[in-house]
Symmetry: C2
Subunit: 206 residues, 2 copies
Amino acid sequence: MRISELSAKSGVAIPTIKYYLREGMLHQGEQTAATRAEYDESHLRRLRLIRALLEVGRLSVASIKQIIAAVEDESMPTHEVLGTAHYALGPAVEPEPGEEWQAARAQVDELIEKLGWDIHPAAPTRDELAQTLVRMRQLGVAIDLGPYVEVVRKLVSEVEMNTIPFDGPRDAAVESLVLGTVLYGRALDTLRRMAHESESARRLSS
Amino acid sequence: MRISELSAKSGVAIPTIKYYLREGMLHQGEQTAATRAEYDESHLRRLRLIRALLEVGRLSVASIKQIIAAVEDESMPTHEVLGTAHYALGPAVEPEPGEEWQAARAQVDELIEKLGWDIHPAAPTRDELAQTLVRMRQLGVAIDLGPYVEVVRKLVSEVEMNTIPFDGPRDAAVESLVLGTVLYGRALDTLRRMAHESESARRLSS
C-alpha cells in the first residue's frame, strides 16, 4: 500500500509517519520509484504498537525507541522483549536510604520467594511494592497482601495472559501487553472504587 | 498540647500548621494566653487527614478545603462526606461527543443496574469506566468485565471496607478511606504486574 493508505488505515498522519521513518522507529518501505514506496502489514502493525505505547502507555518517544530496539533485536528472547515494555510502563521508584526501606524490600523479596513467582532480581516492581509498604507503615495502615496475591494470580493467569498472542509477531505481543496492562488496570481500579461506593452506601444505610 | 508538640507528633512544620489555621483548614486551639494556645487530639487527627490527602492522595489544597468543609458540615450524611473525598481521588474524565461514548456509557449504567450496585447517578466513576471501554473498543481490545467485578466485590467487601472506622470521628474515617483507596490500589496494581511477569516467564519457558 502507499503511504496515504497506510496513514488512513493506521490513523497516523503522513508527516508523523515520515518522522517515524526518519527516526528509525518504522522500517523503510519497498522503494518502487524515486518518490514512491510500498508498505505492508508489518508497517501497520508497527504503527499500531507506537500508538499503543504513546497514547495508552503514555511513554516518551525515547522510551518507545528502546522498546522498538528490543522488538527488533532477534537475539533477545520474547520474554525479555515483553519485560522491556512492561518495566517502562511502571512508575520510576527510587530506593530510599534507611532500615525501614530495607525491611520493606526484604519483605517483598521473601513474599516473591514464598510464592515461587518468577520475578527478575532487578525488576522495578520489587522497589515499587517496597515503597507502598513503607508508606503504609509510616501512616499506620496495616495490610495483609494475601487476598491481593490470590486475586491477581487468578486474574492474570485465567484472563489477562490469554489475550496476549505469544506465538505471533513480537510487535503484536508487545502491543497487546501494553494495552492489557494499562486498560485492564484502569478498568480494575475504577470498578474497585465503584464497589467502595456501593459497599459504603450499604453499610451506612443499615 | 502546645503547637510545638502538635508539630512534633504530626510531623507537620509549625509555619505550615499556622498556614492551615489561617486558611481555616485546621480549627483554632483554645487560647490560654495572648500568644499561647492549647491543641488536642482533634487537631492531630485533622493534620493527619490533611497529610493523607496531600501526600498520598496528591490532591490540591483547593480540593482538600472542599473535603474539610464536607467533614465539618454536620448536616451532611457520612456516606456523602466519604463520597466527596472518594470522587476527588479519581481522575477527571470529560464525556466525549458521539455515539460510541453513549453506547459505552449505557453499557456501564446497565452493568451497575444488573449488579444492583448503589452508585450515584452522577458518580464520576461511570464516565471513567465508559472512557476505558471506548479506548478498548477503538484499539480492538475485547474485555469481559465479569471476572473483574467478582474480584473487586470480594476484595472491597471482605477486606478493604473492614479497615474503615465508620463509627469514629469523620476525620478518621475519611483519612482511612483515602489511605486505603490509594495505597491498596497501588499494591494491587504492582502485584498484578508482578504476576504478569511471572506468568509470562512460565509460559515462554515451557
